[in-house]
Subunit: 421 residues, 2 copies
Amino acid sequence: MALSPASNLGPAVGLICRECGTAAELGPRYACDQCFGPLEIEYRFTRTEGAHPEITRASIEAGPRNIWRYRGLLPVPDQVAETPNTEPGFTRLVRADQLAESLGMSRLWVKDDSGNPTHSFKDRVVAVALAAARELGFKVLACPSTGNLANAVAAAAARAGIRSAVFVPSNLESQKIITTAVYGGTFVTVDGNYDDVNRLASEIAGEQEDWAFVNVNVRPYYAEGSKTLGYEIAEQLGWRLPDQIVVPVASGSQLTKIDKAFQEFIKLGLVEDRPYKVFGAQATGCSPVAAAFKGGHDVVRPVKPDTLAKSLAIGNPADGPYVLDVVRRTGGAVEDIDDAEVVEGIRLLARTEGIFGETAGGVTVGCLSKLVRTGQLDPEAETVIINSGDGLKTLDAVAPVVGPSANIAPSLEAFRAAGLA
Amino acid sequence: MALSPASNLGPAVGLICRECGTAAELGPRYACDQCFGPLEIEYRFTRTEGAHPEITRASIEAGPRNIWRYRGLLPVPDQVAETPNTEPGFTRLVRADQLAESLGMSRLWVKDDSGNPTHSFKDRVVAVALAAARELGFKVLACPSTGNLANAVAAAAARAGIRSAVFVPSNLESQKIITTAVYGGTFVTVDGNYDDVNRLASEIAGEQEDWAFVNVNVRPYYAEGSKTLGYEIAEQLGWRLPDQIVVPVASGSQLTKIDKAFQEFIKLGLVEDRPYKVFGAQATGCSPVAAAFKGGHDVVRPVKPDTLAKSLAIGNPADGPYVLDVVRRTGGAVEDIDDAEVVEGIRLLARTEGIFGETAGGVTVGCLSKLVRTGQLDPEAETVIINSGDGLKTLDAVAPVVGPSANIAPSLEAFRAAGLA
């Protein structure tokens, strides 16, 4: 399958290996021919001949209220916003004064990505993957997943009117099966764990040349979708960067792409070039990047995940080393907390700001608290944290510790006796 | 408890009885002194002396991207957007070409209110109730509920930093208890059915004078929040009204307030005055308004609900007669469908547009289909339907009919043998 000469992927001009720097033509490839390293998109944003139109604050502000306002910075066709899609993004940036006060901080914001169409940040990356995949000639949108990604792929394909094919471990909870199967695509349960499913997906991708596994063979395009989190934060702060940002780390891609977005905005002159610190957040039960950071290593040693924060449970994170680079370059840190602290993080965010985040949000809030307590994060500096998903999808995490204040008979006497007034 | 002279409820100037027309002063009251009929807000929108500033398209468009862009049309303080709140509204209006095609329609839109902070339209009404309740001097935000309203009240109060008190039947599923209790307010389970809980709430409201039960003693303010659905639809269509709109009917308030919003926009000159038809949608297992419409009656006879569309299961709908008025005045209809059609409606919306609605959404899609089939709704005229909540909260409805396409061993051979390529 070849990219046609008429292809339109916006400002994307090629691919480049993140390990050895070898260039490759734009197309349906994801690994370097020379060293098998991961490929990343190369752009041309400047106003030189043949380049993409200039990006300004005004041109962005004139765009739609979703991620496509940044289409000039993404590997997608210019007309992407006019093709049926789930229109993710431009989620709320919530000023979190009560959460800040409870942590002894001055100025804190929550980027609440539970507001996306299927209620996680995965709608962003899937939307970019879908747009690029169509342009690259793929016919089926596919993924291996255990949760949020499956929802996002099935919904996005349904909306776009193309086929989806989602592969999950067969022991997945029935709730998670329903929330994806309802969209009516091909939905396959596989007798094996997530690693088995992931391996099978790679094998199928090698055989079915018109299947785009978003997180496998179109990963370079897919991953760019996370840049939009960074763009939105900067724009919603009034075209400036925060002093500090705390990002949950699974594969590590989200953190590195937020940094990439900030760097692009600086280079394009859209925000002032000033220092910011990037912090990573993990659950101790799956904290290979935190362990490497704390040990002063450059290599991330794989672990076997054992945490209730399942959406972050990637034991061998592909972007782990790049997370270490960003965190060390900016003067941040990677922290981790145990599962009890994750649950406490979910509850604290809900009680103080009325936002019910999933376990990944609990990890971020809990790590924020620990970073402040341990003096690694400045409580006086402006800070943004990411809530990447919705608590409705991980009810089991809080079920053991959340319940009624009282149970009463249906009478005023019972109400008075319960001392609730 | 009296409204202070300094009170600021925007353009609201008084209360008026919907039954006998008796006027009452703006304040914490909800029933007419003369006839016990429901009170409704009176406004002064014109530019006469002492009235509220003029409302124009430009003044609205300059507002925030949430319901507070319409604050000049709501009984809330002018500074409402600056007080911490959940910022609901301005949810997506989705052009639904694939759903339209499957129903033989030309031009169909879905107003997808699952994008609200707690994923139902209740965030709108609760936000208005909260803003008015604070101005009226209430200290606690309360409600009887079995689901969406409980979520919305608990989240809104947490975000605002005030106490919530939510009352639910004690046999409620543990899932629904968790999704409200996580916000940390007072959460009381009551040994009784919803009617018992509702009655207890009224009794407590009579005794705890600083408790605002949003759907009881501040109902006149609360109900106005649904107007924002109508405002947004008109604005998002490019400042014009649709030809037809299909709205789910529980108490009937949402339908009557959308009509009120359209009428206000016409009177204010914000949209062209042209005919539109309003249709109501119910589940047959709780269809007192549809029965009255079909029987040609003015009185709605209460029923005992028996449907899986629990968020619509109000057997004695307070606004039922007003729904009949609106539907008959505009040339619409009220239709109902059985529970199997509700489930099919949920699946159809998910498969064609990637939107997973709750049972109320299934009712609306299913009734839309029936209205087209029976010739009551014009398939060529532009139509808007409301999806008022999120399928994640009513998984049980689709669980029996949704599942995997196949279960395979983790190998390419098994994948090939399953015939999925």
